[in-house]
Symmetry: C2
Subunit: 249 residues, 2 copies
Amino acid sequence: MSATQIDAVTLDGAGPLYDQIRRAIRDLILAGTWPPGTGVPPEHALMEKLGASRMTVHRALAQLAREGLILRRRRSGTIVASPPASHAMLDILSIPEEVRELGQVYSYSILQRRDGKTSRELAARFELGRAANVAHLTLLHFADGAPHVLEDRVIHLSTIPQAADEGFAETPPGDWLLQNSLWTQAEHAISAIAAEPQEAELLKIDAGEPCLLVERRTWNQAEPITAVRLLYPGGRHRFVGRFGPYGAV
Amino acid sequence: MSATQIDAVTLDGAGPLYDQIRRAIRDLILAGTWPPGTGVPPEHALMEKLGASRMTVHRALAQLAREGLILRRRRSGTIVASPPASHAMLDILSIPEEVRELGQVYSYSILQRRDGKTSRELAARFELGRAANVAHLTLLHFADGAPHVLEDRVIHLSTIPQAADEGFAETPPGDWLLQNSLWTQAEHAISAIAAEPQEAELLKIDAGEPCLLVERRTWNQAEPITAVRLLYPGGRHRFVGRFGPYGAV
DNA sequence: AAGCTTGATTTGCATATGCAAATGAAAAAA
DNA sequence: TTTTTTCATTTGCATATGCAAATCAAGCTT
């Protein structure tokens, strides 16, 4: 069952020894030569076959274990893990970057700003647990002068008090927050909705047209920092990600 | 500039020493005590302060470097890295899992299947580079008997020939492929579109209603495996991910 | 002043050694 | 037979040691 072709492990001489070992075994797994459940030879066997010390072999295997490719248990040995439930990775670029990535000219304008306690309606829209002192901003981002995305955001002034004195004239609030705050947790939801009439007018599309809605909330430890709703005209925008079974490529 | 409060590094005595060191430094970074650019004390200094060997300190720092929290350069030393361009992670569950996760009963039915060379129209819809021998399937997934998502898929028979003899009666093709093929690359795009009349009828929604469209293509090395378009009624579905600046939480 | 050489600092890699923890299997005891 | 004990295998952790590579800085030369 766990008889593995140890001879299949061959080094390519490129780079550090531990990394050669790591890549050699990783490639056998990714190529399917060692399918899930296959026994990986014990450290001593690899050590002799490859002429490396046990610590070096261990380093390679420990890293593969951290990456989730193999499972290791004392005495029972090491086996190839089953591919994990996969993740799709979507880059979160700042909106200016996103627009420039498309080769277009970025600009933005603040449509409205109001600071103060959250109304019941606002708290509901952003799923805020309790009333809070926030800055509430509405703004529109443009790509080559055309509406690109409509942003509706609250910033928790109790967590980021310096936002109260910031006009966001130079930098839109999303980017400003990235520079002026630390976040440890975020939640991200993507859904599709029909544009409301006033949203459609701002985005220069027809009411009822499908839009991508990105809702994001971020925290530092337990303190909420900001919550934002980004409305993208659906026909024009898509989120793309490229990845492999064990993470980004 | 790089004078760091080395006294801030304190161990908690829980678990392996190298991991205590790793976590101690990681926490100082995440808490903002050591902002980006801050100099991390050299291995020798940490070694003396913590009473650990250099190899152990090195192990902790090397791991933090792999995780992207710190940057290390010979002779110049180690500094805290700037938070990376973040990724949002969305779990890709199989559709049966996705439905069961919601606490609903899963079922599916194959609406149509046709194997053979791709038509021009089909090749365009799935962005296939050239004509190919594929299985083309259309199916509908149900949650508690109600339409959940409409699936339109091609499977490359040159890469996965055994799909030609598979009826997908027990397992829907997405899950079957996960079990019967290896993939090394995937591309994933999310957009919002209005439902076409025939799509709307199948999903039991009104034509023109906003839907989430997930398009995914997977490869093994350079060989295409499958391409799929998943159409979710927008109002009912959203993709949610939770994550931190340095990866999944 | 500009370029070159030398030296010192810091990280990176590999090895050898020793012990500890987990645990499957065999041996011994009930 | 069943349970317990012992033993051996395998991984995990930590240390000490030595050398190599990168590179900043100081000193030297021209």
